[in-house]
């Protein structure tokens, strides 16, 4: 009797989770499958879930004639640079905030938390004006600069938590042995915080890789990133759905790969603020 009811409950449990999974995945599946359909199938008006003759024509088109390679390289340069700069400077700040005593430390920590939420729309207007004045409009460096600034508060916050988890005895032992603070940071903390840097890096890279508004405003034909290039397929003549879905599929590959390999850590990062409180 008891076993029966447990069994029923488990079945219900799994059925619920599977239903939710299908809801989450369906739009993503439709995007990917549509990217392998030709125009006729797409505009036929009859949604085809599984049985269609797959074509890679959309991918051939976008990679062939839209400077796709340039936009891809732009996206990679911006994403990787912003991530590396954020991790380096954010890691140093997190170390100092977590382990050192100096006047103003708490103010800096609070300030970083407050600016975490600045809406992109608020930043967009002055960023546009500022980048014209500074001469970094339409340059990749301008985008890298703003992405780094935008991501630093959250990165510092996450890394701070990871520094706090490191047993302080490790650092004390190194200092007794005559290590400088820089050596403690690079040789003692970094090796034991690799997982923390990895997950923080995923967050930063993802935001830089996905960002659209600033990228739209601060780039031109040569410095465009993938999300901006994709939005341009929404032409006045009507959206080219096949190509759009192919671009969309390519854009979601890196974030989905990260999700597959470190969902647990990503969730820990997402829920850190809420759950620890």
């Amino acid at each position: 009797m008891r076993i029966e009811s447990t069994k029923t409950r488990m079945t219900f449990h799994y059925a619920g989770l599977i239903a939710l999974s299908i809801i989450c995945l369906t739009p993503i599946y439709i995007m990917i499958s549509t990217s392998f359909k030709n125009e006729v199938v797409i505009f036929d008006g009859n949604p085809v879930w599984f049985f269609f003759f797959p074509t890679i024509q959309n991918y051939v088109d976008i990679i062939g004639d839209s400077h796709f390679d340039r936009y891809l390289v732009n996206s990679i340069i911006v994403g990787v640079s912003a991530t590396l700069i954020t991790l380096t400077t954010g890691g140093m700040a997190a170390y100092a905030l977590a382990r050192m005593q100096f006047p103003g430390r708490q103010s800096i920590a609070n300030g970083a938390l407050l600016v975490r939420m600045i809406p992109p729309a608020v930043l967009a207007i002055p960023a546009f004006a500022v980048s014209i004045v500074l001469g970094i409009a339409n340059q990749l460096s301008g985008l890298i600069f703003f992405y780094t600034a935008l991501n630093l508060p959250f990165a510092i916050w996450l890394l701070y938590g990871f520094v706090k988890q490191v047993p302080i005895e490790l650092e004390e032992a190194a200092i007794v042995d005559g290590a400088t603070p820089w050596q403690v940071f690079t040789r003692v903390l970094f090796p034991v915080m690799k997982a923390g840097y990895a997950v923080t890096g995923i967050f930063v890279f993802r935001i830089a890789w996905n960002e659209f508004i600033l990228a739209l405003l601060l780039t031109d034909r040569t410095t465009r990133t993938l999300p901006v290039a994709t939005s341009l397929f929404l032409t006045d003549a009507g959206p080219e759905w096949g190509r759009i879905m192919a671009m969309g599929t390519l854009i979601v590959i890196p974030p989905l790969i990260f999700t597959f390999f470190s969902a647990r850590q990503i969730i820990a990062g997402m829920t850190a603020g809420a759950v620890k409180g």
């Binding site: 939710l20 739009p27 050192m100 407050l114 600069f145 630093l152 508004i213 409180g277």
Partner: protein
């Protein structure tokens, strides 16, 4: 409890080392966040159009703010934002919490489900907007097809105010309910089992356990999830920009999107900056509320 003594040299030199370590990050945030926001404040008191040199901008004091208070479009987009926030957040929180309570028991395969649930959060907002725009498309869209199959007339989803509003609400719920679900389930699974055990022994039924024990115990998590969702309602514009561009009319023009369009479609940078100050103040107040509830970097031994 106080923090252990910091393992760095003493006195002024110790302070200097601290400053050197925070300096790069502080400078970057100062130049890339604070400085633009200050520029935005200055801009909000000027009349400056896109494409003209900044030096030709005219100082007009509080005119932009006075205009904003009377501007029906600003009021309309505030109202749209409020409605959007009300519907999305009510549904996301209710669904997310209910699902978390139903499915909180740790089970085999949980990690696969977790991976799937965060996918909508990980993909680019541009992509989310594009995919849903395709699904809602009047001609090639899948939703109309199934409406017709079910015997209904096809609808111009993104071309009619109420339908477009419904469409962006639905998309937001699809994308963000999993976020609430994941935060709440993390909170529930962290509850000490002794407390739940004790309440069961005291004779609490399932409903009493939920409303008198579980939900009160994860109260701060619920409030933070709620505040984060509210902040996102004020921040978000990319999905709407792609799906509807705020239209038809102002039906889906959230405040963020209104700021963006005032700046870059209507080309009134100064006026848009004034509206963005309003947006900033709202988000700032909400962030402050989160900090007061839970400050992750507050140490017990303040300097």
């Amino acid at each position: 409890m106080s923090d252990p003594a910091p393992p760095v040299a003493t006195g002024m030199r110790r302070w200097l080392v601290g400053y050197l370590f925070v300096a790069p990050a502080v400078l970057l945030m100062g130049a890339g966040l604070i400085y633009p926001v200050v520029q935005g404040l200055l801009l909000s008191m000027q009349d400056w159009a896109v494409g003209t040199p900044m030096s030709t901008a005219e100082f007009i004091g509080a005119d932009n703010y006075l205009r904003m208070l009377r501007d029906e479009n600003v009021q309309e987009s505030m109202w749209v934002t409020f409605k959007f926030g009300f519907f999305t957040i009510t549904i996301e929180m209710t669904l997310g919490v209910a699902l978390a309570l139903l499915l909180e028991k740790p089970i085999r395969g949980a990690s696969i489900f977790r991976t799937i649930f965060i996918m909508p959060l990980m993909i680019s907002p541009v992509v989310v907007g594009l995919v849903w725009r395709y699904l809602y498309d009047a001609r090639a869209g899948w939703i109309n097809h199934y409406l017709e199959l079910a015997g209904f007339e096809p609808l111009i989803w993104l071309g009619e105010p109420h339908l477009a509003f419904f469409a962006i609400v639905f998309t937001d719920i699809w994308q963000w309910t999993p976020f609430v679900f994941i935060i709440v389930i993390a909170g529930l699974q962290a509850l000490p089992s002794e407390v739940l055990e004790a309440s069961r022994i005291d004779g609490a039924n399932t409903w009493q356990q939920i409303f008198l024990v579980k939900l009160p115990m994860i109260r701060s998590i619920l409030i933070i999830a709620l505040l984060l969702r509210i902040i996102d309602v004020f921040k978000g514009l990319e999905v709407m920009l792609i799906m509807t561009e705020g239209g038809p009319g102002l039906a889906t023009e959230l405040l963020s999107l209104h700021v963006y369009k005032t700046a870059f479609d209507a080309q009134q940078l100064g006026y848009a900056a004034a509206i963005s100050v309003l947006l900033l103040l709202i988000v700032f107040a909400l962030s402050l509320a989160i900090l007061l509830i839970s400050n992750p970097m507050k140490s017990r031994a303040d300097v």
